[in-house]
């Protein structure tokens, strides 16, 4: 198993009457709510937590990209990952990822990710999400029905740019470059491992299988509801006749660990509530721009994570509802271990994106929960895939053998 400690970096100071005063946490929430000098401390605390996660033994630390929102404050995940290259040395830097349809030219992504891979000594995991409709269409103005074609072309350009040793011309529909010449190039050849966040469309299953990318389902509704979607993925894997390595898939899970189940509720309950009722408070009109999803996907009944969230009434869901239905895995180390094992086996996943900073959780609680998970839960989940030797080279980083010691470099 590979465990990535993943940060969403939410704005932790949304007021108690947030839902009454604002229709959406995304797209049109006035930025006067953001206080830059408070933000200074928030960013550094969040980065410290990611570094702490490496120190207690997580395999990866993760960041992602969102725009115009208080749910996740990383318009540029690459800037965050760049700071992490300097103060970490072992963990994979899981950038999950860059919304490649948004960059003009998308070569910028190839360049920046190559920079991150070189800076980190070959520790980059490259994520290529389409991006939520709120980000891609409403905040960044991409025409919904053209988003996927643009994405596919950007992906093609990035892979070619990483692979080429000589300049070449790229005549795309959306990007035309007479000289594609990616300096620097990534350390990992031909490319860093690639993770694709998906939401249940068959096209994305095939895209991952065609390219040997890991399919990552980032859900906040827990593994019981994810079962159907992941079964669809594994069914497709079987149909395609490729191997069933669990590392072909990953799942995001909100996890809270305390000494006892009751203590978990007392410590983390308010922050879970903040996350589900403020961070996920998205206006339905922003959740799914018409044309953003393919017709085929709509026909299979897959709705966006955020459409589903807005249809669900989290306000009325208690701690008991959220934990019993496994939206959240919370409790004593033993409770969490049991449920995590069930998750891993049910969904058949080799990658877990652990969401352990939740909503407005203060630093001491984040570290407490993280340390308990790392010390008392993670070691007992490490060896669940012995038939795969608990590792799959195709879906994990290949750091260089002797990276330069940073202190030496500074002197």
């Amino acid at each position: 198993m590979k465990f990535t400690w993943f940060h969403l970096m939410p704005w932790p100071h949304m007021p108690d009457d947030f839902r009454e005063k604002h229709r959406s946490v995304w797209v049109d929430l006035p930025s006067r709510m953001y206080e830059p000098e408070v933000g200074h401390g928030v960013y550094h605390q969040y980065l410290d937590q990611l570094e702490f996660a490496e120190s207690v033994g997580f395999d990866g630390i993760g960041v992602n990209e969102h725009h115009a929102n208080a749910y996740g404050l990383m318009p540029s995940p690459n800037i965050m990952a760049a700071t992490l290259t300097r103060r970490t040395s072992k963990a994979a830097l899981v950038v999950l990822g860059n919304s490649i349809a948004l960059y003009n030219p998308p070569l910028r992504v190839a360049e920046e990710m190559a920079m991150l891979d070189v800076l980190s000594g070959g520790r980059l995991v490259a994520g290529f999400p389409v991006g939520t409709s709120m980000d891609t269409n409403y905040a960044y103005g991409t025409i919904p029905a053209l988003t996927r074609e643009k994405y596919a072309e950007a992906h093609d350009l990035i892979r070619k740019a990483w692979a080429a040793d000589e300049p070449f011309a790229f005549n795309g529909r959306y990007t035309k470059l007479r000289y594609v010449n990616c300096w620097p190039k990534p350390i990992q050849r031909p490319a860093p491992p690639v993770f694709i966040p998906g939401g249940g469309s068959v096209e994305t299953y095939d895209f991952c299988l065609d390219n040997t990318y890991s399919y990552s389902y980032l859900s906040y509704s827990g593994y019981l509801r994810a079962k159907l979607l992941m079964e669809g993925y594994w069914k497709r894997v079987a149909e395609r006749g490729v191997d069933e390595s669990p590392y072909r898939a990953g799942f995001a899970q909100v996890i809270c660990v305390a000494d006892t189940d009751a203590e978990a509720e007392r410590l983390y309950g308010p922050h879970i509530n903040y996350f589900y009722n403020r961070c996920l408070h998205v206006y339905p009109g922003f959740a799914d721009a018409p044309g953003y999803r393919t017709i085929k996907t709509i026909q299979t009944g897959a709705l966006s994570q955020f459409t589903a969230a807005s249809a669900r009434n989290y306000v009325t869901m208690s701690w008991k509802d959220l934990t019993e239905n496994r939206y959240v895995i919370a409790g004593s180390p033993e409770t969490v271990r049991q449920q995590m094992e069930e998750l891993i086996k049910t969904l058949r996943v080799g990658n877990i994106f652990c969401l352990m900073h939740v909503g407005n959780m203060p630093d001491d609680k984040v570290r407490h929960s993280t340390r308990l998970f790392a010390e008392k839960v993670m070691p007992r989940l490490r060896h669940l895939w012995p038939e795969w030797n608990n590792h799959d080279d195709r879906f994990w980083i290949h750091p260089m053998q002797q990276p330069v010691g940073l202190r030496t470099a500074a002197e």
Binding site: G141, I143, A289, I298
Partner: protein, 260 residues
């Protein structure tokens, strides 16, 4: 009202064409919402004209929308449709997004269109008077955006389906995604594809009609179109919203009859 199919060469694109009435030829280009059930405007126009109303790919049973990506694609596609229909000097009428397409056609192929009627066309943007972002609006908001009398509009729009039925909901979502997915190529995120810099080319005799109570594209845009198209006439219809032709079909018919 009858419906038939037209196949374009060489693309093989199959287009659904609604026809009604007899008289002088009138080409009608629908807006982003497509035709309404028993469309009152088409019905009124059919009392006087032979109305020929092709559906844009993505609407009704017209197919081939994946190959139409931008304004020029759609404009040339619609000129191809016009040519294939072999109409006799038609009055070209377009509503909202259809008006934007009609104006583009008249600007690009100025010798092929000599009578143009724009019903609350999209295509311009004035910072002080932003056009409503229809893509974020929920179904229940539409009557109020399209009609001055929202309650009457609600009845006109009613599709008769039950949104709680998962199968109907899925069909509705597919239809909505096809239509507005296509419309987004011309209207998202800002309905301006440079038409303003081409309007000077229009030489057709042009009538512009606007609902005086239009809240979706405010009537001030009517003045802007009138100013940009030389010799054009602007008629404002009182008691009408953005769906001016469906809300006041007789008034729009009279304006067209009087002008052409």
């Amino acid at each position: 009202m009858t419906s038939r199919f037209l196949t374009l060469e060489p693309s093989g694109r199959r287009i659904e064409v609604v026809e009604a009435g007899t008289g002088r030829d009138l080409l009608f280009l629908h807006g982003a919402g497509g035709h309404m059930p028993a469309d009152p405007l088409i019905a009124a126009l059919a009392s006087q004209y032979r109305v020929v109303a092709p559906m844009l790919p993505g609407y009704g049973q017209s197919a081939g929308e994946d190959d139409l990506r931008d304004m020029l694609d759609v404009t040339l596609h619609t000129l191809d449709v016009l040519q294939a229909l072999k109409l006799d000097q038609p009055i070209v009428v377009g509503h909202s997004m259809g008006g934007m397409i009609a104006a583009e056609m008249a600007a690009i192929a100025r010798t092929e269109i000599d009578r143009l009627c724009l019903l609350a066309p999209a295509g311009l943007w004035i910072d002080e008077h932003p056009v409503v972002d229809i893509f974020t609006r929920l179904p229940y908001e539409l009557p109020g955006l399209l009609f001055h009398d929202a309650e009457a509009g609600q009845k006109l729009l009613a599709s008769g389906g039950n949104m709680d039925d998962p199968e109907f909901l899925k069909q509705f979502l597919v239809m909505n995604a096809r239509r507005l997915g296509m419309a987004g190529k011309l209207l998202f995120p800002i309905p301006d594809r440079g038409l303003g810099q081409r309007l000077y080319r229009i030489t057709a005799d042009t009538l512009i009609v606007w609902g005086a109570e239009d809240v979706l594209i405010p009537p001030v845009y009517g003045n802007a179109f009138k100013k940009a198209i030389s010799g054009s006439k602007l008629v404002k219809v009182s008691g009408a919203g953005h769906a001016v032709g469906q809300e006041k079909p007789q008034a729009v018919l009279e304006a067209i009859k009087a002008h052409f």
